[in-house]
């Protein structure tokens, strides 16, 4: 493949992924409001468009046109940089996610992935770990005690749970023997007894998945671990002082992170785009992407479901849970997996 074609393909892929991601982010927000509304015996957004489907557009317009307020006594450079950091790293990490097998267009095999890196999983972890700076710096630069507390909580929480997150993935890595997300997905093809798919969650990584899920909730600051922005204690936590588009950036970063995490869960534990293939060739090409999207949707729904169901932890409970329960559990999972594989 000539280099220019390669670059062209990458640009097109990036553009598609970005558009899809942003749309997904917008409609995840809509979905959340809708689902939580129904859970609480309300309707959720209904006014803008059918079933309130145009509500995200209206929200976007509102964020764009509201006054961008910079409070006095903030540390301006970082106050401005923080939301950018948050959103940029949240959007970047999606570029490593493969969302289907390669397709063949005009004789060229093009992988359905923005960049295919051998150590894709590590890169995602690295980018995610940088994302914490957005939250921490936002909290610090706002020069507000609620923000600072939120930022402190966020950085401590994210650093703590990053360990469990990483360790919960090690089991999968041991089983697949690769850091490449594509390889990991490919290693999950096939079935047991012809009908149970050979997904990692069914091949002994249930505890790993549980740890991953818990750590992922904490990493994305979602209920029940949303202490950095606990409304009842800290007003709005680290983004108390933010408004308009800067606030929207945090918002987008949070939901983009949710989607990334859901993608990862799908890829690592639920077989990625593996699923039943049938029908004509064109359907066979589309179905994997469909299965992938459906699994992500299921995860996002789970996120919202949990949010609508569970109360928030206390901060000391959060830390105790992370260090005293989740970390040992994920370590035990690593050891058990290693022994099982070696044996």
């Amino acid at each position: 493949m000539p280099i220019w074609l390669y670059i062209l393909a990458s640009v097109i892929k990036s553009a598609i992924v970005l558009v899809v991601l942003l749309t997904a982010v917008a409609y995840t927000v809509w979905l959340e409001r809708k689902v939580v509304g129904h859970m609480q015996n309300r309707w959720g957004p209904t006014r803008v468009g059918p079933f309130g489907l145009l509500q995200p557009l209206a929200d976007g317009a509102k964020f764009l046109f509201k006054e961008d307020l910079t409070p006095p006594h903030v540390y301006r450079p970082l106050y401005i940089a923080a939301p950018l950091i948050a959103v940029i790293f949240a959007l970047t990490s999606i570029s490593m996610i493969p969302f289907g097998n390669s397709v063949t267009i005009a004789g060229y095999s093009i992988p359905l992935q923005v960049t295919d890196v051998n150590t894709g999983l590590l890169v995602i972890l690295g980018i995610t770990s940088i994302g914490v700076y957005g939250v921490a710096l936002a909290g610090w630069s706002s020069n507000n005690k609620y923000s600072l507390l939120g930022g402190l909580r966020a950085s401590a929480q994210m650093v703590s749970y990053e360990i469990s997150l990483g360790l919960s993935l090690v089991g999968v890595l041991i089983m697949s023997g690769s850091f490449s997300l594509r390889d990991i997905v490919n290693s999950q093809g096939g079935h047991f007894w012809g009908f149970i798919p050979r997904w990692n969650i069914f091949t002994g990584q249930f505890i790993g998945f549980f740890c991953y899920l818990m750590a992922a909730y904490a990493e994305t600051n979602r209920i029940p671990f949303d202490l950095p922005e606990a409304e009842t204690e800290l007003v709005a936590g680290y983004h108390t002082e933010y408004s308009a588009m800067k606030f929207a950036m945090f918002f987008m970063a949070e939901y983009a992170n949710m989607i990334t995490v859901a993608c990862l869960a799908t890829l690592l534990f639920f077989g990625g785009w593996n699923g039943p293939l049938f029908g004509p060739a064109i359907l066979q090409a589309i179905l994997p992407v469909f299965w992938f999207g459906a699994k992500i949707f299921a995860f996002l729904f789970l996120y919202i479901w949990v949010r609508g169901t569970l109360p928030r932890f206390r901060y000391d409970q959060l830390m105790a849970f992370g260090w005293k329960f989740l970390l040992p559990l994920s370590l035990a999972n690593v050891i058990a997996t290693a022994i099982a594989v070696a044996w």
Partner: protein, 174 residues
Amino acid sequence: MLSVHLILFLAFGAVAVAGAVNLLAQTHPINSALSLIAVMAALAGEYMLLGAEFLAAVQVIVYAGAIMVLFVFTIMLLNAGVEERTKGSRVATMFGIPGVLLGSVLLGWVVLRHSGTEAVAAGALPGAPAVIGQLLFHEFLLPFEITSILILIAIMGAVVLASKPPSAPARKVD
């Protein structure tokens, strides 16, 4: 001719040096910390150029993502402000800094003059995670285990040091 490799090297190197100089120039520790993160990210890029992809990832995850977060966290926790201009040590300025400059100039001269012109190709030594893992868990198993103990001790030490000294325990009255 400027190859892609050299251009990338120079770009990352420029970022790294700029970050390092900015670290020195800034008076507020948080700016220094962010500069250091930039240096580390640029170095991760250099590692990639040299083929050490695993190290690059670990550099970002461990250094930028964990160690520097600790620094930022500490800065936030202690609410460290702009550096005070106190009159410090004469030795450091009169003896130390000229020493550093002299030493680096001498070393740079030697390195440039005598290390030859053999070039290092991009990705010259692929440090794939699997290979590094093989090395770590076979040849370097003992150091690996020892460092793990070191880390454990460091964790305990950090907890002991940073935890508040316990107030005198209330005497039990029988």
